[in-house]
C-alpha cells in the first residue's frame, strides 16, 4: 500500500470536496468514502479536516447544505455544489493540474 502524504494541504481538501460534490450531492461521510474509493484508498481525508473544509466552503458559498435522510434512514446533512463552487472547482483544478505536472516533471528522472 502506498503511503499517503501525512498532511494534505488545506486547499487540497477544499478542491477534493468540490470535486466529490460535482459528482452528486452527498453527506460528509459519503464524501470521505467517495474520495477513498476514487483514489484507491490513497486519499484518506481525516474527518476533522473534511468537516472544517465543508463548513468553510459553505461560508464561502461554494456549497449549499440541506438536511436529508441517509441510506440507513438517519438524519444527515447533504452538501451540493453551487454555481460559484463549480467555477471555483474549474479554476482550482487547472491550477492544480499545472502544479502537479510541474512537480512530476521536476521529479522525473532526466
Amino acid at each position: 500500500m502506498t503511503r499517503s502524504p501525512a498532511e494534505l494541504l488545506q486547499g487540497t481538501v477544499d478542491i477534493l470536496i468540490l470535486r466529490a460534490l460535482a459528482w452528486e450531492p452527498m453527506h460528509g461521510y459519503a464524501i470521505s468514502r467517495w474520495l477513498a474509493a476514487r483514489s484507491d484508498g490513497v486519499l484518506a481525508v481525516e474527518g476533522a479536516a473534511l468537516y472544517q473544509a465543508l463548513h468553510r466552503s459553505e461560508r464561502n458559498k461554494w456549497v449549499t447544505a440541506s438536511w436529508g435522510l441517509s441510506e440507513n434512514n438517519r438524519k444527515a446533512k447533504y452538501y451540493s455544489l453551487s454555481t460559484a463552487g463549480r467555477a471555483r472547482l474549474q479554476a482550482e483544478s487547472t491550477v492544480w493540474r499545472n502544479y502537479a505536472a510541474a512537480v512530476s516533471k521536476v521529479l522525473s528522472p532526466a
Binding site: 460528509g28 474527518g47 472544517q52
Partner: protein, 889 residues
C-alpha cells in the same frame, strides 16, 4: 429586478443553540457511520468507536471550528437578507408612493410645514432659552438689581455707595462688576469723528465673566482710577468693521471723548455685554464715593455678579437682602424699602423675548399636533384602501413583522423627505425673518441651525412619522384576512371604530386651527391698534439724529447754548425744513422719570409719584406737531440765569392742577429739597413718547437752554417733503458749528417707530403664518377625509340616485357631514381659545382676549374655507352615475 434563487434554498436563520445542535448531529452521524462500518468488518463495538475517533482527528476543535464558521455565515446571511429586504421595501414603497402621489404630497407637505415651523422656533428658543451665554460657567452669573418689593419686576441699577456697602458686607459672591452703556465720540488718527456705543465697566468685569482677551489683555485692578492713564479694550466686531482688523492696533491709541486711550486688548468674536458695544473703558467709583451723600440715591450702575461655588441663588439672595435691610435702616429716606434682587443672568438678558418665544413655541406645537392628526388621517384612509393588498400579501406568506417593516419603510421615507424639506424651510425662513427684523433679539443671542437643532428635527420628524403614519397603518393592516379578501373590491369604509377615529381627528384638527386662528387674529387686531394708535404727534416727514456735545469746552452753559442755537438755526433756515428742535429723549425711544412736588400742595405721603421727564429746546413741539393747549413755548427771554421755566402736558395739568391753574404755578423736580422751583409757562397735548402701546403719562418738559447737564440731545426736524433730503444740510450745520462732533442714528421717525414695533411685528408675522398654516392643514384634513368617504360611498350614492334622490340631495348629504365636523371643531376650538386666551393677554394691546370681532371673523373665515374644502368632494358625489357605480361591483 433579477434575483438569484439561491437564497430560497438556504437554511433559514438559526439560533446559536440550533447551530451547535446541527454541528453535533452532523459529526455524530459521521462517527456512527464509521463505527457501524468497522463493526461490520468484525471489530468489537468499543474498539470500533475508539478507532473511529482516532481516525477522525481533533474532534473538539472541529466541533467549535464548525460552530464558529456557521455562526459567522448565519450573521452575514441575516445582514444580507435584511439589506435585501430593506432595498425591496424601499423600492416597493417608492413604487406605491408614486402610484398615490396625492397621499405622498399631502404627507410630505404636512410634515415639512410642521417640522419647518418647529425647527425655526426651536432654533430661536434654543438661542434665547438654552444656549449658554458666551461667558465662563454662565450658570453662576446673576444680574444684580435693587427694587421695591411692592413694585413687581422693578429693576433699578445700584448707586456707588450702596454697591460699596454690598461689596464689603456680602459673603456669597466671588465678584460684583458694574457697567453702564452710553454713546461716545471717537476717532482714530486723523479720521472724522464717529459715534459708537461704549460700555464703561469696572476693571474686574472680564474676570467676573471669566473671559480672557483674544489679543492683548483686559483691565488690571485699579485701572480706571487714574484719569490720566486711560485704557480701552475693543470688541472683535468693532476692530473688524471700524478699524479694518488692523492687528497692530494693540499698543496704539484711539481718541475717545477727545482724549487718547491706549488699546490694550481685543475681546474674542461674539463677546458682548448685551448691546453689541464697540469697546469697553474702565471706570471706578472713587468720585461717586467721595460724594456719597448725593450719589447714594443715583441708581445708575447696572451690576452683575458671580455666586461663589456651593452657594445657592436663594442663599446669596438672602445674604444680600439682609444687607439691604441694614442699608434701609441706616438711610431710611433714600433707601426706603429697596431690596437687592439676583436674577440668573440668562433670564435677565432674555426677559424681553422669553414670553413671545414661548408663545410661538406653543403655536408651533399646535401646528405639529394638527400635522399629526392630518398624517394619521390620510394614513388611515389610505390603509383602508390597502386592506386587500395587505391581506393578499399576508396570504402569500408575508409575516406580520414583514408587513410592519414594509409600512415602516414607507413612513420613514415620508418622514425623512418631509423632515429634510422642513429643515430647509426653517433655515430659509429664519434667515428671511431675521433679515427683515434685525432688531428683534438682544445682540448676545445668535440664531443658527446647529447639530442639536438638526437632531431635534430628525427626532421630531421620525417620531411623528412613526407615531402617526406607521401606527395607524399597522393597526389597519391587522385586519382579519378572510373578511378583507371577501370584501375585496367593495371598498367598504372600514370599521365603525376607525371611522369614528378619523372623524374625531378632523374635529380635533379644526378645533386646534380655530385656537391658533383666534390667537393670531387677536395679535393682528392688537398690532393694528398699536400701529394706528393716536400718538399725539405726527411722525411722518420727521428726521431724527443723535448729537452729543463732548469735551471740557462744553462745560459752560453758554457754549452749549451757542452750539445748539447755531445748529438748530442753520437747520431751520435750510429750504424744505418746516421746524427744528431737540430733546433729551427721542420720541418712541423710552422715557425718563423723576419725582415732582407742587408748590403749595401738601407734601405727598410715602413715595412721591413719578412724572415723565424730558428736556426740549428749539421748535420741538412744532416739529412734532404737538399742539400748545395753554400758555406759551420757551423763548429767548428764558435765559440760563433767569427764572427756571417748564412746560407740562395735559395729563399732568389735569392730574396736578384740576382747577386749570397750571400756567403760572410752580413745581420742584427731583428729591432734592434745595432744588429751584420752576414756573410752568405752558401746557402741551399728550403724546405717546415711550412706545406706541404705553399710554401717555403726566409729563414735564424742562427748558434745555436752562439745564445743559445732559450732554446728548436728539435732534428732531420736520420737513415739507422727503425728510432724507435734508440729511446733508443737518450734517453741514453740525460740522460748521463744531467739526469734532458727529451725528449718530440718523433716521426718520417712522423708522424709529418701526423698530420699536419690530419685535411685535416679528412675533405677529410668525403667528399669522402659523395660523394660516393651521387653516390649510385643517382644510386639507377635511378635504381628504370627505373625499375618501365620498369615494367609499359611491355605491350608496348610486343607489340613492337610482331610487330618485336628486344631485342636490346627495350634495347636501356630503356637505352636512363636512360641516358637522367643522361646527363641532369650532365649538371646541372657541372653548379652548376662551380658556387659553388669558395666556395671550399680556401680549395684547387695546383688544381683550375675548374680542368678539376676532371670534366672529374666525368663525366666518373657517366656514368659508370648510365650504371650499367640501365643495369638490360634494360635487363629485352628485356626478355619481348610478348604473356604473352598481355595475362596478
Amino acid at each position: 429586478m433579477p434575483r438569484t434563487p439561491s437564497r430560497f434554498f438556504q437554511f433559514p436563520w438559526r439560533s446559536r443553540a440550533q447551530i451547535a445542535r446541527d454541528v453535533d448531529t452532523e459529526l455524530d452521524f459521521h462517527l456512527e457511520m464509521r463505527v457501524s462500518e468497522l463493526v461490520a468488518q468484525g471489530l468489537s463495538a468499543d474498539d470500533a468507536r475508539k478507532r473511529a475517533h482516532d481516525e477522525f482527528g481533533d474532534l473538539e476543535f472541529t466541533r467549535s471550528y464548525c460552530r464558529n464558521v456557521d455562526n459567522a455565515s448565519d450573521r452575514s446571511v441575516r445582514t444580507a437578507d435584511r439589506l435585501d429586504e430593506l432595498r425591496q421595501d424601499a423600492a416597493y414603497a417608492l413604487r406605491t408612493l408614486r402610484r398615490s402621489p396625492g397621499f405622498a404630497i399631502v404627507s410630505i407637505v404636512t410634515l415639512a410645514l410642521a417640522i419647518g415651523a418647529n425647527t425655526a422656533i426651536f432654533s430661536v428658543a434654543q438661542a434665547v432659552l438654552l444656549k449658554p451665554l458666551p461667558y465662563a460657567a454662565p450658570g453662576s452669573l446673576v444680574a444684580f438689581y435693587e427694587g421695591h418689593p411692592k413694585v413687581p419686576n422693578q429693576r433699578l441699577g445700584l448707586s456707588a455707595p450702596n454697591l460699596a456697602d454690598y461689596t464689603t458686607q456680602q459673603h456669597s459672591l466671588s465678584g460684583i462688576a458694574s457697567y453702564y452703556t452710553r454713546i461716545a465720540t471717537w476717532r482714530s488718527g486723523n479720521s472724522d469723528p464717529q459715534i459708537a456705543t461704549v460700555t464703561s465697566v469696572t476693571a474686574n468685569m472680564f474676570d467676573v465673566l471669566g473671559v480672557p482677551a483674544w489679543r492683548g489683555r483686559t483691565f488690571a485692578a485699579g485701572e480706571g482710577a487714574d484719569a490720566n492713564s486711560t485704557k480701552v479694550v475693543l470688541s472683535y466686531q468693532f476692530w473688524q468693521t471700524a478699524l479694518g482688523g488692523d492687528a497692530t492696533i494693540v499698543g496704539r491709541t484711539i481718541t475717545v471723548y477727545n482724549k487718547p486711550y491706549d488699546v490694550i486688548g481685543i475681546m474674542p468674536r461674539g463677546f458682548t455685554r448685551g448691546n453689541n458695544e464697540a469697546f469697553w473703558v474702565p471706570f471706578d467709583f472713587a468720585d461717586d464715593l467721595s460724594r456719597a451723600a448725593v450719589t447714594r440715591k443715583q441708581h445708575v450702575y447696572e451690576c452683575l455678579a458671580r455666586i461663589k461655588p456651593g452657594i445657592t441663588l436663594q442663599a446669596a439672595q438672602a445674604d444680600l437682602a439682609a444687607i439691604s435691610a441694614r442699608l434701609d435702616a441706616d438711610y431710611p429716606d433714600i433707601n426706603s424699602d429697596l431690596r437687592a434682587t439676583l436674577t440668573p443672568l440668562r433670564e435677565a438678558m432674555g426677559r424681553s423675548v422669553r414670553d413671545p418665544v414661548l408663545l410661538l413655541l406653543g403655536a408651533a406645537l399646535l401646528i405639529l399636533l394638527i400635522a399629526c392628526a392630518n398624517l394619521a388621517n390620510v394614513t388611515l384612509s389610505r390603509s383602508m384602501g390597502r386592506k386587500t393588498e395587505m391581506a393578499v400579501r399576508a396570504a402569500l406568506g408575508a409575516g406580520r413583522g414583514r408587513l410592519a417593516r414594509q409600512l415602516l419603510t414607507e413612513s420613514m421615507i415620508l418622514s425623512i423627505v418631509g423632515g429634510a424639506c422642513g429643515v430647509l424651510l426653517a433655515i430659509v425662513g429664519t434667515r428671511a425673518l431675521l433679515a427683515v427684523n434685525p432688531h428683534v433679539l438682544p445682540g448676545v443671542f445668535e440664531i443658527g441651525i446647529d447639530g442639536r437643532i438638526l437632531l431635534f428635527s430628525v427626532a421630531v420628524s421620525v417620531g411623528t412619522g412613526i407615531l402617526f403614519g406607521f401606527a395607524p397603518a399597522i393597526s389597519a393592516a391587522r385586519a382579519d384576512l378572510q373578511t378583507a379578501l371577501k370584501d375585496r373590491g367593495r371598498g367598504g369604509t372600514g370599521s365603525r371604530a376607525s371611522e369614528r377615529l378619523r372623524h374625531m381627528l378632523v374635529v380635533a384638527q379644526v378645533s386646534l386651527a380655530v385656537m391658533l386662528l383666534i390667537g393670531a387674529g387677536l395679535l393682528v387686531r392688537s398690532f393694528r391698534e398699536v400701529s394706528t394708535v393716536h400718538l399725539g404727534y405726527d411722525p411722518s416727514n420727521v428726521m431724527t439724529a443723535q448729537l452729543r456735545v463732548d469735551g471740557a469746552r462744553y462745560d459752560s452753559i453758554s457754549a452749549v447754548n451757542q452750539f445748539y442755537d447755531d445748529v438748530l438755526g442753520a437747520i431751520a433756515r435750510t429750504p424744505g425744513v418746516v421746524a427744528a428742535g431737540a430733546s433729551m429723549a427721542a420720541p418712541a425711544q423710552g422715557k425718563q422719570f423723576s419725582t415732582k412736588f407742587v408748590e403749595g400742595a401738601p407734601p405727598p405721603t410715602g413715595t412721591p409719584p413719578d412724572i415723565g421727564y424730558n428736556m426740549v429746546r428749539g421748535d420741538y413741539f412744532k416739529a412734532l406737531k404737538i399742539p400748545m393747549v395753554a400758555g406759551r413755548m420757551f423763548n429767548a427771554t428764558d435765559t440760563p440765569n433767569g427764572p427756571k421755566v417748564s412746560i407740562i402736558n395735559e395729563s399732568a395739568a389735569h392730574a396736578y392742577f384740576p382747577n386749570g391753574n397750571a400756567v403760572g404755578s410752580r413745581v420742584r423736580i427731583g428729591p432734592n429739597p434745595a432744588a429751584d422751583w420752576v414756573t410752568i409757562v405752558g401746557v402741551v397735548g399728550d403724546m405717546r413718547d415711550a412706545a406706541n402701546w404705553a399710554a401717555p403719562v403726566p409729563s414735564i418738559y424742562d427748558n434745555a437752554a436752562q439745564e445743559t447737564w445732559w450732554r446728548s440731545l436728539s435732534v428732531v426736524v420736520r420737513t415739507s417733503g422727503d425728510p432724507m433730503t435734508v440729511v446733508p444740510a443737518i450734517r453741514a450745520a453740525v460740522k460748521a458749528a463744531d467739526p469734532t462732533l458727529a451725528l449718530r442714528d440718523v433716521e426718520t421717525l417712522d423708522e424709529v417707530i418701526g423698530v420699536s414695533l419690530s419685535a411685535r411685528r416679528f412675533a405677529l408675522g410668525l403667528a399669522a403664518c402659523f395660523a394660516i398654516l393651521a387653516l390649510i392643514l385643517a382644510a386639507v384634513g377635511i378635504y381628504g377625509v370627505l373625499a375618501y368617504s365620498v369615494n367609499a360611498r359611491t355605491r350608496e350614492f348610486g343607489v340613492r340616485l337610482a331610487l330618485g334622490a336628486t344631485g342636490r340631495d346627495v350634495m347636501i348629504l356630503v356637505l352636512r357631514q363636512g360641516f358637522g365636523w367643522s361646527v363641532a371643531g369650532l365649538a371646541i376650538g372657541i372653548g379652548g381659545a376662551l380658556a387659553f386666551g388669558r395666556l395671550l393677554a399680556s401680549s395684547l394691546y387695546g383688544v381683550s382676549a375675548t374680542d368678539s370681532t376676532t371670534y366672529i371673523a374666525v368663525v366666518f373665515g373657517l366656514l368659508v374655507v370648510v365650504l371650499i374644502a367640501c365643495v369638490v368632494p360634494a360635487s363629485r358625489a352628485t356626478r355619481v352615475d348610478p348604473i356604473n357605480s352598481l355595475r362596478a361591483e
